[in-house]
Every structure is written in C-alpha cells, then in structure tokens.
C-alpha cells in the first residue's frame, strides 16, 4: 500500500493558525457542527444505499425465479443441466445482500451514534455560551449537558464489532454438533 501524499499550502497553514487562535468553546462547537453535517450526509448515503440494495436484490431474485421457471420447460438436456448448475451457483452468491445489508445496518448504527454525540456537543457549547439565568443556573445546565454528552459517548462506545466477518461470497463453514 503506497503512502498518501499530503500537500500543504500557505493558505492551509494560515487556516490552521486561525483555528488555533479560536477559543476552545468555539472550536468544540465547530467540531460538533462539522461532525453533525457529515454524519447527516453519511446517514442519508447509507439509507440511499440500503434502498438501492433492496431494489436491486428484489430485481435479481425475480430474474432468478423467472430463469428457474423457464428452466422447467427445457427438459433435461445438457443446456438445462448447465443452466441449473448456474442457478445453484447464483443461489450462493445472491446471499450477498444479507451480508451487505447487515454491514450497512451496522455502519448506520455507528453513524447515528456519532450524530448524537455531535448534537450533544453542540448543545453543550450553546449552554457554555448562554448568559446566567436566575431560574436555571448555568452550572446546573452545564452539568446536565455534560452528562448528555457522556451518555452519547457511552452509546457510541457500545457500538460493538460487526458480526459479519466475510470478505467474499465463498461458502461458510458447516459444523455439526
């Protein structure tokens, strides 16, 4: 694997310097907003991928069944046997949609957890910048927002490893107890 070449121009350095000068509160707010925006986009892309996958899978399955029905009229000649063997092979590879669907659902869960962290971060920053209010002291409000951030982080950390270990559609192992 080759290393990625990173070019640094003066505008970027200046941008980094500008960022360094930002106060912590503003920086965290900016991180939260950027994360939020990208997570929303990623969530939508994953959803779109799920829709496309479901549609394509349905079409593939319908085509598969149509080919199988057509096979019934072919009799038992050499061509029919070859078609049947190909259909059987396809029945293994068509299972990809289950594996991919699970991977997409896992990724969506992670993105959603990250989205929640970004939202909580933004709320915390808003609370940090809010003026003192007699009815609801800022310290209590801040503690509440920090707790919400922590809860969201715990939920993010709880996103477990994926159960899907397959990297291809090779048949899995069979074990009889």
């Amino acid at each position: 694997m080759g290393s990625r070449k990173v070019s640094v121009d003066s505008a970027a350095v200046s941008h980094v310097n500008d960022t360094a000068e930002e106060n912590f509160e503003h920086l965290v707010g900016r991180v939260g907003a950027a994360l939020n925006l990208q997570c929303r986009a990623a969530h939508q892309e994953l959803e779109q991928t799920q829709v496309l996958l479901a549609q394509a899978t349905r079409k593939l399955l319908d085509t598969f069944h149509a080919a199988n029905r057509a096979l019934a009229g072919l009799g038992a000649d050499e061509t029919a046997v070859r078609v049947e063997q190909n259909l059987l092979a396809a029945s293994q590879h068509l299972q990809f949609s289950d594996l991919v669907g699970q991977l997409l659902a896992n990724a969506e869960q992670r993105v959603d957890a990250l989205l929640l962290v970004s939202q909580r971060l933004q709320e915390l920053v808003q609370a940090m910048g809010a003026p003192e209010c007699g009815a609801h002291p800022q310290a209590a409000q801040l503690a509440c927002e920090k707790s919400a951030v922590l809860e969201a982080i715990v939920a993010l950390e709880a996103c477990g490893n994926t159960r899907v270990r397959q990297w291809d559609t090779q048949a899995g192992r069979v074990e009889l107890f």
């Binding site: 899978t57 349905r58 399955l61 598969f64 069944h65 199988n68 049947e84 259909l87 059987l88 092979a89 029945s91 293994q92 590879h93 068509l94 299972q95 990809f96 949609s97 289950d98 594996l99 669907g101 699970q102 159960r163 899907v164 270990r165 397959q166 559609t169 090779q170 048949a171 899995g172 192992r173 069979v174 074990e175 009889l176 107890f177």
Partner: protein, 121 residues
C-alpha cells in the same frame, strides 16, 4: 424421503434461496421471517427440520432453539443455525441451547442438501 422444512430468517434473499435449494431437492418448505413467527409456524405444523438465522427481530435464533427444545414434539427434531456469525462463544451457546449444527452464511447449495439429508436421516 422428502421432508417438511421450516426456514426462519429476516432476510428475504436468504429465505428465497433456501426455499429454492430445498425445493429443488424435493423438500417442502415453510418460511418464517423472525423467531416468533418461526415458533408459531412450528407449533402449527410439525416440521422435520428447522433452519434458522441467529440475529433476527422479535426473537433470535438461539432463543427459538431453546423454545422449540422445551416442546416435547421438537426435542428430537434437527435444528440448524444458519448465520453470519462464526465466533466460538456463539457456537457454544447454540450447541448448549440444543442446536444440531452451525452453518456460516453464505451456504453452499450442494453442501446444504448434503447436511439436510444427513441430519434428517
């Protein structure tokens, strides 16, 4: 001898491919889309074999295996878990629950027929 097989999976593709392969070998198939649906269909029809996924909404596969094994009419019926999961701990959980075997997705159609013949003999 041809058997009545109950397949339980929340994935349409898996259910349809299982049905295709099993029917092509002459078996009859009943489909269920989650563990709860599977349990209800197993109660309504005495099947000769159950092939179930593990991770499903409403009721997972291992819970289904336990529920079926608690029924006198399903104590000796083979139950295969067909899942993407392959961890040893999960397999052990399946074995302890009373599963007959563990198949990792995707399944090889010829191997599946071989296993079905073997466990229902």
């Amino acid at each position: 001898m041809k058997k009545l097989v109950l397949t339980v999976d929340d994935s349409t593709a898996i259910r349809e491919m299982l049905a295709y392969v099993l029917k092509s070998a002459g078996h009859r198939v009943i489909e269920a889309e989650d563990g709860m649906d599977g349990l209800q269909k197993a109660l309504a029809n005495q099947v000769d074999l159950v092939i179930t996924d593990q991770s499903m909404p409403k009721m997972d596969g291992i819970t289904l295996v336990k529920a079926l094994r608690a029924l006198p009419q399903y104590q000796r019926v083979p139950i295969l878990l067909l899942t993407t999961e392959s961890s040893d701990s999960m397999k052990e959980e399946g074995r302890s629950a009373g599963a007959t075997g563990w198949l990792v997705k995707p399944f090889d159609p010829n191997k599946l027929i071989e296993v079905v013949e073997k466990v229902t003999r």
